[in-house]
């Protein structure tokens, strides 16, 4: 036990005398929150709309004024030529063209379908999908409104009497930042745990100091445990720091039990630090471990459901996600923070991670060689 204590002490001294470490611990979360959070937004606003109105009727003007009135749209151009609009689309001055054909009003009044064409720059598929939804929504609202006006006159009820109500639970204002913040915290503690722990071990390998450890009677598990604890503490501290920042700066809701969150995070960190230590047992240089980290980080993060829900991924990806620690944590941290889920809601994920931690840590100890 005393041995482990001394190794931990050595690690802490090494970490804190390294001048890049302290800024890493304190500057990175601030930087990530400010930049990532503001950059990583899929809140659509300022959709640049180009209007081609060939009908120039009362109805077409009303429809256009709906777009003018919407906070999401900004009308950048207006002409009678679709070709002009397409030029703007090409130059990215416009994101979407609304083309109202002539005879639009006449068709509508006569009970024929009104012809409206929407051209969306779809190079960014995600953005195009959102623009599409927003635009169709405005047109539908408009069309429904007109129908209701007509029906009020004829005395029949609107929408066949369907009174549709919406309720957005857990995030009434659809605040995208509240969705992203927990995800950013996950990335933050993962960098701390995985990258730093693996770098620290491999650095000793590269500089040769590990041989000095190897000739001592320190046991394999003691040494790895000594490497694990400091980064575990730092990452948990980082989580607390990040949560505080999120709470103060962005009013991040903390609906669930903090103790549960930290308990879950502790197990999660065991897993990622375990992976980090395992990585460092199979690499020789910091460059290698860096790129290995990089590869897994990209794959794990993208599949974890950071910006698209993991449920809409194909089946094989959802199965593959069972070995993705970020997937569990991404899901659970959002559940605890945003929905206030309790232990029984996250029990399955919790036990999965416990098993994961045991496996990966034993693997790291087994793979670590004291001999050269």
């Amino acid at each position: 036990m005393r041995t482990i204590f001394f190794i931990i002490q050595k690690e802490f001294i090494q970490i804190f005398r390294n001048k890049t470490m302290l800024p890493m611990i304190f500057v990175m979360p601030v930087f990530q929150m400010l930049v990532l959070l503001y950059a990583a937004t899929l809140d659509m606003k300022n959709i640049n709309l180009y209007v081609v109105d060939k009908d120039l009727s009362e109805t077409s003007r009303q429809l256009i004024s709906k777009f003018e009135g919407s906070p999401y749209y900004f009308i950048t151009g207006f002409s009678f030529s679709v070709a002009d609009g397409e030029t703007d689309l090409k130059k990215e001055k416009a994101d979407v063209i609304l083309h109202i054909t002539s005879g639009f009003e006449k068709d509508l009044v006569n009970g024929e379908k009104g012809d409206v064409q929407i051209l969306i720059n779809a190079i960014n598929g995600v953005k195009a999908g959102l623009i599409n939804a927003y635009t169709l929504n405005i047109i539908n609202q408009f069309s429904l409104g007109k129908q209701q006006d007509g029906m009020l006159k004829s005395g029949s009820a609107a929408l066949g009497g369907f009174d549709i109500r919406y309720r957005f639970w857990f995030n009434q204002d659809l605040n995208f930042k509240h969705y992203m913040l927990p995800g950013i915290l996950v990335i933050l503690v993962t960098i701390m745990g995985l990258l730093l722990s693996s770098l620290s071990l491999v650095r000793e390998k590269e500089l040769g100091t590990i041989e000095q450890i190897n000739v001592t009677p320190i046991k394999k598990y003691q040494f790895l445990f000594g490497k694990l604890v400091p980064f575990w503490v730092i990452a948990l501290f980082e989580l607390a720091f990040g949560l505080t920042l999120g709470r103060l700066l962005f009013d991040l809701p903390i609906r669930g039990n903090l103790l549960l969150l930290f308990g879950f995070s502790s197990v999660y960190l065991m897993v990622v630090i375990g992976i980090g230590l395992f990585f460092s047992t199979i690499t020789e240089t910091q460059q290698q471990v860096m790129f290995l980290y990089f590869f897994f980080n990209i794959v794990f993060t993208m599949m974890s459901g950071l910006f698209t829900p993991a449920e809409s991924m194909p089946d094989w990806a959802q199965i593959a996600n069972h070995v993705n620690p970020l997937y569990y944590f991404m899901r659970v941290i959002r559940m605890i923070l945003l929905k206030g889920s309790g232990f029984q809601d996250v029990a399955k994920e919790f036990y999965s991670l416990v098993v994961y931690a045991v496996i990966i840590l034993s693997l790291a100890v087994w793979r670590y060689r004291k001999t050269v």
């Binding site: 503001y38 047109i139 007109k146 109500r165 919406y166 910006f307 449920e311 809409s312 194909p314």
Partner: protein
């Protein structure tokens, strides 16, 4: 000259004998494009929902069937009481619950109105928004098909065309993005780390006392990475073409020339970073924070730059990847020539010269 070729050969050996790093370098772009192409999807499909049908009459059953058979939703649970909703949502098993009030069709007939409540789990705001829109669309469709008295006036049928990317494939955005990212990763990050490594291990001193000139040291370091970056850029373009059918509509030669310009720019940044960092870790973190994160976040390849606050938009303008992505997007997808991208090209050339100038100035031939 012979010593110079020998030096370049040494650099090649350094890089290519490290099989693990090689594997990862080729693995990253391939994995990333495959994941973006097949996994990351924003489409709504088979979303688990719950239905609380308090009236269970013919009309609500018809609506339920219509919703379930739409392909967007799958019924996870039939709820019995409103109290179950909260627990179900907290478990995260359903994303949406649709509540029909009791006596639904009777109310429609007698009172002319009955309510449907759509409750969504908005902890994922964009998904919630899309779900509500889809559900609403199905309901409106039901009403329009089943109620004859509905007014046929003012039915607008919007025809949507997705320009440049009919299938709305995400790959169209991610291939340029991946290229911008991976070229920075290899060119800037690997170069800076490898020079910093020679510093850390002390082998740079050996090189400096040798008759090789500093310019030769730098170019020798850089040449293998240019080659490597180029091969990977070509692999990415080929993958986009053969796996996802992403066309190169514009001139291939121009595309390769622009990639070459971008690689040169990234390498000069790499050299600059290595001159200011003493150890590999420092070089790594500078590359990570000054290059890679901004490349991923501020280049517009995942998140549209227009939505960012103005200060980030300004920072994004200083980021080379933004310009590179605009260039390849224009050439590959829109099929444009230099006429549309000359401004961006000039910006990249300017940045390259700027970084190169500082790097050469900063490169010390002596130890402190």
């Amino acid at each position: 000259m012979k010593s110079y070729t020998g030096f370049i050969k040494k650099e090649f050996l350094h890089i290519f004998r490290d099989k693990r790093t090689m594997l990862i370098l080729f693995g990253i772009p391939i994995a990333q494009i495959l994941i973006f192409g097949y996994v990351i999807k924003n489409e709504i499909k088979d979303i688990p929902i719950g239905i609380l049908d308090q009236s269970n009459d013919q009309m609500t059953r018809e609506i339920t069937t219509k919703i379930i058979s739409s392909g967007y939703f799958k019924l996870k649970r039939n709820l019995q009481s409103p109290n179950e909703i909260e627990d179900l949502m907290k478990q995260g098993d359903v994303k949406e619950v649709i509540v029909f009030e009791s006596g639904f069709s009777k109310k429609i007939k007698n009172e002319g109105s009955a309510s449907i409540e759509i409750i969504t789990d908005a902890s994922e705001p964009n998904t919630a928004n899309l779900l509500v829109n889809y559900t609403r669309g199905i309901l409106i469709d039901y009403v329009q098909k089943n109620q004859q008295q509905i007014n046929t006036q003012f039915v607008i049928e919007p025809k949507v065309r997705m320009v440049y990317n009919e299938g709305m494939k995400d790959v169209f955005m991610f291939v340029p993005g991946t290229m911008a990212m991976i070229l920075i990763l290899i060119s800037a990050m690997m170069t800076s780390i490898s020079i910093a490594r020679e510093k850390e291990l002390g082998t740079l001193e050996v090189l400096m006392v040798s008759p090789i000139k500093p310019v030769q040291i730098i170019t020798g370091k850089v040449i293998p990475y240019i080659l490597l970056s180029f091969i990977i850029a070509v692999i990415i373009i080929l993958m986009g073409y053969f796996v996802f059918g992403l066309p190169v509509r514009g001139s291939l030669a121009l595309l390769l020339a622009e990639s070459f310009l971008y690689i040169t720019m990234a390498l000069s940044m790499g050299i600059l970073i290595s001159t200011v960092s003493k150890s590999q870790q420092v070089a790594m973190f500078i590359s990570l924070f000054a290059l890679l994160l901004p490349t991923i976040l501020l280049s517009g390849f995942i998140y549209p730059i227009e939505n960012m606050p103005w200060i980030l938009q300004i920072i994004a303008n200083l980021m080379p990847p933004k310009w590179f992505i605009i260039i390849i997007k224009n050439i590959m997808i829109k099929g444009e020539g230099l006429a549309l991208v000359w401004k961006e090209t000039l910006i990249l050339i300017g940045m390259t010269l700027f970084f190169l100038l500082i790097a050469v100035k900063k490169f010390k031939t002596r130890l402190e």
